[in-house]
Symmetry: C2
Subunit: 262 residues, 2 copies
């Protein structure tokens, strides 16, 4: 039996749900409400000591780290395969997933909390905000969170975060020359991994950055037409929250463009 | 043909050389002198846009990122296998290599440059130092480098870096209960990946931290007795440089212990 601890809008939850859906796998769903801080609850931290989602439990075995969960799912549930059979393409696929883990994902936290979630967080008391920041175990993530809640779009981390996303889009545009997906004409773990981050830009009203890159825009449409997208992503998108993300994104898009012009 | 661009003391070079040696693979060696800044030379950056070592070239195909190079080597040169066949153990192995990539490796830069290399770097002119810092493309690594060169053991990054290493040793001690290597009784990519970081602690005169953990100390000895260790690591260790690392490490070990007691 598969059990998934996840959240509707978390990028890492989306990428695991996409792989589960591509493979047609059912799972027992456990919501972890990140907005309420359920990822810090002692019972959950026993499963996932990093205080993050998702966590997969397979026949009682606990698996963490979304990139490694997806590799595991492809090994255990081999059909349809989402990992290229040739080692060079596999390496290319893993360069994408590693780049997301090491660079893109931390920057997604910066732009999501600094633009989309911040106005909601600022309605809490300073003590509540400080408690939620203090609960983040990783010191670098904790300090970045504190900074973007305090400074929003003007946080020192923001320009680097947005540039990291644009550089990701540029390299995707190059990789998609002559092929339908990032590594070949077949959908792979790399596509499942990148989709949530492109979607996050869309949710934060940065769609013009996507549309300026024709192949990325076509790839984004192509994935959204797959059955897995409906089951794993769009069904879970909370429209009122995303509308609020879009509104706050629109308010700062001029500043985003100014940062990119610098 | 295999070609390896590497440096004698770089942790990531050591872990790839260990895997090459375990598999008995010969390669054409290209030195990249990190101390002279050869990783920033335009010809090398074309191979490795991250300005780091190692880079492997296999029959003309360029492979970067040491963790992914090792996965590739195990796929292409399957015998002896260094990846467990069962998916749960594979996941456990990749949790170790991912932890090194995302947490331990950046901290290794902090302690190596802040303790071992700093006295040598401070003999350069301020302009030379600034140029070498500016050449680091990743902003977070660049700022950490600047900070430890300026402040040494008193850099704000130092306590977190040392604690990351101690937490790694503690979790290794737990993982090694009842088995010879980190994931099973067989040497795997996880062991090749962790060895250089334990060795770095030894080189920086922090051997008491290793010896306080009996299973880690025995694991460290066990790897040092393998044929691959001689070929891949000890043959390349520059004794005068390591003696200088040890001397500087001894000077600050009291402060390291004080940080851990805090």
């Amino acid at each position: 039996m598969l059990e998934l601890y996840h959240h509707f809008l978390s990028t890492c939850s989306q990428k695991v749900r996409l792989v589960l859906a591509e493979k047609g796998l059912d799972y027992e769903s456990h919501w972890i409400d990140l907005i309420q801080g359920e990822q810090h609850a002692p019972a959950y931290v026993k499963l996932n000591p990093n205080h993050v989602v998702p966590t997969l439990v397979h026949d009682g075995h606990v698996l963490i780290e979304s990139t490694l969960i997806n590799e595991y799912l492809d090994e255990v549930f081999a059909e349809p395969s989402l990992v290229p059979s040739d080692p060079l393409s596999r390496h290319a696929m893993r360069l994408w997933t590693k780049r997301v883990d090491s660079q893109v994902h931390p920057c997604a936290g910066v732009i999501t909390f600094g633009i989309g979630t911040r106005p909601m967080i600022l309605q809490r008391t300073p003590e509540e905000i400080e408690l939620s920041v203090q609960a983040i175990p990783d010191p670098a993530r904790r300090e970045a969170r504190r900074s973007v809640i305090e400074h929003g779009i003007k946080a020192p981390e923001m320009q680097g975060a947005i540039r990291t996303f644009v550089s990701m889009l540029d390299d995707m545009e190059e990789a998609l020359a002559g092929r339908a997906f990032l590594v070949s004409d077949d959908f792979s773990l790399a596509d499942a991994c990148l989709l949530p981050y492109v979607l996050r830009l869309d949710h934060l009203a940065m769609r013009p950055l996507i549309e300026a890159r024709l192949r990325v825009a076509a790839w984004f449409e192509r994935i959204q037409r797959r059955d897995s997208y409906e089951v794993a992503v769009s069904e879970f998108v909370p429209e009122p929250l995303v509308q609020s993300f879009r509104r706050h994104g629109e308010e700062v898009f001029g500043e985003v463009q100014a940062m990119l012009a610098d």
